[in-house]
Amino acid sequence: MAREIITLSFPSRLELLGMLDKMLEGFVEQMECDEETATAVTISSIEAATNAIQHGHRRDSTKLVGMEFVVDDDQLEVRVRDSGPGFDPSSLEDCTDPANLLRARGRGIHIMRSLMDEVIFEFQNGHGTLVRLRKRLPPHNGTPR
């Protein structure tokens, strides 16, 4: 099947994450992927969107979070875009280090990296963050995903 792209954009309000969750549920359902992939994609997409809303846009609902779901035969990529200040991914602390284990925050990116095959951050000098979450898909039976 040729590449398919679904796009979504919504105001930066945490309350809209419930809608995103439902949409993802329908999305992975119709992709007919295995449960592990479904869980990984859903959880990671929500973590990335949470960060775009909270850190990228500081919950300013006039700013839009942009998402793209790019489905190819052999992989799925979720892109999450915000127009915030960006950050330095290399400076993150390890949340599974015993010293950090009981901190209330700092787990989102670790969760994405644990569940997805690849997590790429792209920054445009103060013009925003693009997170690309990739998951390889097992060979499929030929019907459209």
Binding site: L14, L17, G18, D21, E35, T39, A40, T42, I43, I46, E47, T50, Q54, C95, T96, L101, L102, R103, A104, R105, R107, G108, H110, I111, S114, L115
Partner: protein
């Protein structure tokens, strides 16, 4: 998020439903925990069976409560954890802190045994 509290001895059972995602939920959760503590419930059993939705920020709420209780010699355990929440607990290694049960009676007994 909605919380219903029900007590069993020194254990406050919190039945949470809806979304658990930080922000306003954090304060609401914390105040129920402090109220239960103030009324002599040292332990917390958090029933997540009706939580259809949690993110890492929501997890932070559980961790803060865990820390509060530990300081007073109490425990926080989880009941009816879905596969999704289980996945998040696993990759963050928080399953080493949060003991988790699928059976309420057993969960309550585990507090008494301690």
């Amino acid at each position: 998020m909605k919380i219903q509290r029900q007590d069993s001895g020194a254990v406050a059972i919190l039945r949470v439903s809806g979304k658990l995602m930080g922000g306003p939920d954090a304060e609401a959760f914390q105040s129920v925990v402090l109220e239960a503590l103030g009324q002599g419930r040292r332990h917390l059993l958090v029933d997540l069976g009706d939580v259809n939705w949690i993110n890492s920020t929501g997890l932070g709420i559980l961790i803060s409560s865990y820390t509060t209780l530990r300081k007073r010699g109490g425990e926080l355990k989880l009941l009816n954890v879905s596969k999704r929440i289980e996945s998040i607990l696993m990759v963050t290694k928080l399953n080493t802190y949060f003991e988790s049960f699928q059976d309420e009676t057993r969960a309550l007994e585990s507090f008494r045994a301690a």
